[in-house]
């Protein structure tokens, strides 16, 4: 049976609670940091796994950033290596806090997961 979502996702490769692609898994092994950082231009970059194991810590970091951030934030998910339902919830809630936030991701991992769970509008 054919399915667009199946074609996009590599279901056999992943970590508990999340889905990653082959390329990202290789970099993940190289002690990729997990967390949130804000660069000089004010862009918020989310790094590593955004899954049930890390969302509590990420929530605290995002909350701290949210307090002092402008309403026109930019959220870069290109360095996200794994994501699950809890991670998407967290990002959606953050985006709702600043409705003008632009969310983008240059890797497939986030896009594929959002397609699977019907929440692609996070990237709109």
């Amino acid at each position: 049976m054919t399915n667009a979502a199946t074609d996009l996702v590599s279901p056999t490769i992943g970590i508990p609670g999340g889905i990653v692609d082959e390329q990202t898994t290789l970099t993940h092994d190289d002690e990729l940091s997990i967390g949130v950082e804000v660069d000089d231009a004010g862009e918020i970059r989310v790094l590593g796994e955004v899954t049930i194991h890390h969302v509590a810590a990420l929530y605290v970091q995002l909350k701290a950033i949210a307090l002092g951030h402008s309403v026109q934030a930019s959220l870069n998910l290109s360095a996200v290596t794994a994501i699950d339902t809890s991670g998407v919830q967290l990002l959606v809630a953050f985006k709702r806090l600043h409705p003008g936030t632009v969310v983008h991701s240059s890797t497939h991992v986030v896009r594929q997961f959002l397609e699977l769970v019907g929440m692609t509008t996070l990237l709109l």
Binding site: M1, N3, I52, Y59, Q89, V92, V117, M119
Partner: protein, 702 residues
């Protein structure tokens, strides 16, 4: 194609479909085994839905879709036809009409409370089908079906290592996932978020041919804690329709992008262009309302004026235009060629005139439509009213193919409705009364149409209790319309029923009921240059007879001169001509001038006084009294001279340049004129409105 043209076509076709639907539903109720009627009904609803879908009329599509599902069961003999189902389907006809009216006026089509109730009622007819589908009988286990899956999880599901995304992933193994909709309505504000809890619910639509056990197996580990509902929607497929028909705001809520209250707040802020212009002071509020009212009226008129034309009629027109071109060429040649003698020139001209007359006749025939559609809509009215009043009624129609002007058929609908309502409500007896009167318990109403002597005659007959002239007499005396001593013929007495106010008596009986709205009926018919009369026999029944001109676009008129002006009196109103030389005109105090017509004194109106025209009659003029009749009243109209009789093309007054301007200063004069026409010499002649003159001269009641 221009969207406006598309909308116009849609409205025209939909009107026909809805009329067909209504007619067939009433027939089906009378004969529930009429398979052909069932197929017609199904086709009408299906086509209506498809057309509405192409135009994006979502509300109509949704209602038609559910109705179609019910009709599909009727067609497959899974559902029987009864009074309640027919009533629900007829109510959907009303809803369709109301929605089409919105489309015509450019108003968004919304599903209101009554439409939602109808959808719910139809859904109940479908319920036995869905419950039957749930156990999935062995023969259908491997058939391709569409399932809707609703998933809601306990908040701590993520902490147990069970991410709902795994279930969706598993579903992709056993089905084609057609859509995934995440519901984030319960997601709290960021500040109140517990990121380890699950706030999302999902709705998926999948298509599969796998056994149900395999689908159920996906959820085996969450079956106890999560709420999973699987519904077979193969037949209704309503979710897909819902997806297709939802508005942007609803979709954004479903996708979790915004909250419901945010959409509501945004909609609250949304302003229409008119409001924006008013706010910035570019236009006054009353100007917006005036222009919108104008547009609504224009849309309505434009919709009403569209007409379907038989291609044979168009072919004839094209042929005639071809002949016209040839004939014009002959005339041109004969006129320019000096060698052509006068006889040949006249022959060419006569040929041109002949083609002109034929062309006029053919063009007029294009406007003619069968009265069938107008008659057809009353079957529903009779059915509903009879049921409401507990009477048994059969409505029969004759002469359905009788053609008359499109405008006339449209304006005729209201008066006919009044008469049919009166006939059912007051003319026909109850079944018990009819049995006592040794009649069948079912009353009969007949609508007849026929062409007679250049007119259309329409009759509304009932075989009810008839009208008692004695009762009318007593009532007229009580109302002070006549004295106790006055002796009126039966016809004169029934004429009283058309008097405004005659029906306002508190006494509720067959007489008072007969008067309801009849004054309005007579006025509407008079506006169509026709008249209405009543024949009634006590205990046997009543017939209302309407006589109308075939068309309102061209009338037979009598041209008369009044001062320096030429005016036209519609020939339908003219009874006879009298010369004052030989007829005695006398002046009575308080009654004005009266003319003695074979012992009957009729009032005389001088048109020169009505139109404030200076008397410029010459010695050659021969003053004439034209006796006219309208609404059962005769009176004389004094003119300077009768010029002759012609077919007159009626032009609306506003199109005839300065005439309206000239009359605008006097509203009363405007009431006496129904239009204007352009004479052969290029001058404009007013067409007189005889009922209007009557109203001006005698008032409504006197």
């Amino acid at each position: 194609m221009d969207p406006r043209v598309l909308t116009e076509i849609f409205l025209t076709e939909s009107d026909e479909l809805v009329s067909e639907l209504e007619k067939s539903l009433v027939l089906l109720e009378d004969n529930p085994s009429d398979d052909e009627a069932i197929h017609r009904i199904f086709r009408s609803v299906h086509t209506l839905k498809s057309n509405a879908g192409m135009l994006g009329v979502e509300g109509l599509v949704r209602l038609a879709h559910v109705a179609e599902n019910v009709l599909s069961k009727v067609r497959d003999h899974e559902l029987g036809v009864d009074h309640f189902l027919i009533t629900a389907l007829l109510k959907s006809v009303d809803q369709f009409r109301s929605m089409l009216s919105c489309v015509a006026q450019g108003v968004p089509v919304e599903l209101d409370a009554s439409a939602a109730e109808l959808i719910e009622a139809f859904t109940k007819y479908l319920e036995p089908l869905s419950t039957k589908a749930k156990p999935l009988p062995a023969t259908t286990v491997n058939s391709l079906r569409i399932l809707r899956i609703d998933m809601r999880f306990p908040e701590d599901v993520l902490l147990t290592g069970q991410d709902p995304s795994f279930l969706i992933l598993d579903l992709t193994e056993v089905s084609d996932v057609l859509s995934v909709t995440a519901n984030l309505d319960d997601l709290p504000d960021f500040s109140k978020l517990n990121p380890e809890r699950c706030y999302v619910a999902w709705q998926l639509v999948i298509q599969t041919d796998r056994p149900q056990l395999e689908i159920d197996g996906v959820f085996v580990f969450v079956a106890d804690s999560a709420k999973i509902t699987i519904t077979d929607i193969t037949r209704s497929n309503s979710r897909l329709d819902e997806l297709a028909s939802k508005k942007l705001g609803e979709l954004l809520i479903d996708e979790g992008c915004v909250r419901r209250e945010d959409v509501a707040a945004a909609l609250g802020q949304q302003k229409r262009i008119g409001q924006v212009l008013v706010d910035c002071g570019a236009v006054a509020p009353n100007a917006i309302e005036r222009v919108l009212a104008k547009q609504r009226a224009a849309r309505q008129i434009r919709r009403n004026t569209s007409i379907r034309v038989d291609t044979d009629k168009l072919d004839n027109l094209v042929n005639l235009v071809g002949e016209l071109a040839v004939s014009l060429s002959h005339v041109s040649h004969a006129t320019r060629d000096k060698s052509t003698d006068l006889t040949a020139r006249l022959t060419a001209l006569e040929a041109l005139e002949q083609i002109g007359r034929e062309l006029q006749s053919q063009v007029m025939s294009v406007r003619m439509v069968p009265i069938e559609e107008t008659f057809g809509r009353f079957k529903r009215l009779a059915r509903d009213l009879a049921h409401e009043l507990g009477k048994h009624v059969v409505l029969e129609t004759f002469g359905d193919d009788t053609e008359l002007d499109k405008n006339v058929t449209e304006q005729l609908a209201d008066p006919l409705k009044h008469m049919i309502r009166n006939a059912i409500a007051h003319g026909l007896e109850t079944p018990e009364e009819r049995v006592r009167a040794r009649k069948g318990d079912t009353g009969r109403i007949q609508l007849r149409a026929a062409h007679r002597q250049g007119h259309v005659v329409i009759e509304v007959s009932d075989d009810g209790r008839g009208i008692d002239p004695e009762r009318i007499h007593r009532k007229a005396v009580r109302l002070g319309l006549i004295s106790e001593r006055d002796r009126l013929s039966d016809r004169q007495l029934t004429e009283l029923l058309f008097r405004p106010g005659f029906s306002t008596a508190t006494e509720v009986n067959d007489i008072s009921g007969r008067g309801v709205g009849l004054d309005v009926v007579r006025k509407n018919i008079a506006d169509l240059h026709g008249h209405v009369e009543i024949d009634s026999t006590l205990g046997v029944g009543t017939t209302f007879r309407i006589k109308l001109p075939l068309t309102m676009a061209i009338i037979d008129g009598m041209s008369v001169r009044v001062g320096a002006d030429t005016m036209t009196i519609p020939l339908t109103s003219v009874v006879e001509l009298l010369s004052p030389r030989y007829s005695k005109v006398s002046t009575f105090e308080g009654k004005g001038e009266l003319v003695d017509v074979r012992g009957e004194f009729l009032p005389v109106i001088r048109l020169s006084e009505v139109f404030e025209v200076a008397n410029q009659s010459t010695s050659a003029d021969d003053p004439t009294i034209v006796i006219v009749e309208t609404s059962g009243r005769r009176f004389g109209v004094l003119v300077d001279r009768v010029l002759g009789m012609d077919q007159t093309v009626v032009k609306p007054l506003h199109k005839t340049f300065g005439v309206a301007r000239r009359l605008d200063h006097n509203y009363q004069i405007l009431e006496a004129v129904s239009g204007a026409t352009i004479l052969g010499d290029g001058n404009v002649a007013l067409i007189l409105d005889v009922p209007g003159i009557e109203r001006m001269a005698f008032g409504d009641l006197q």
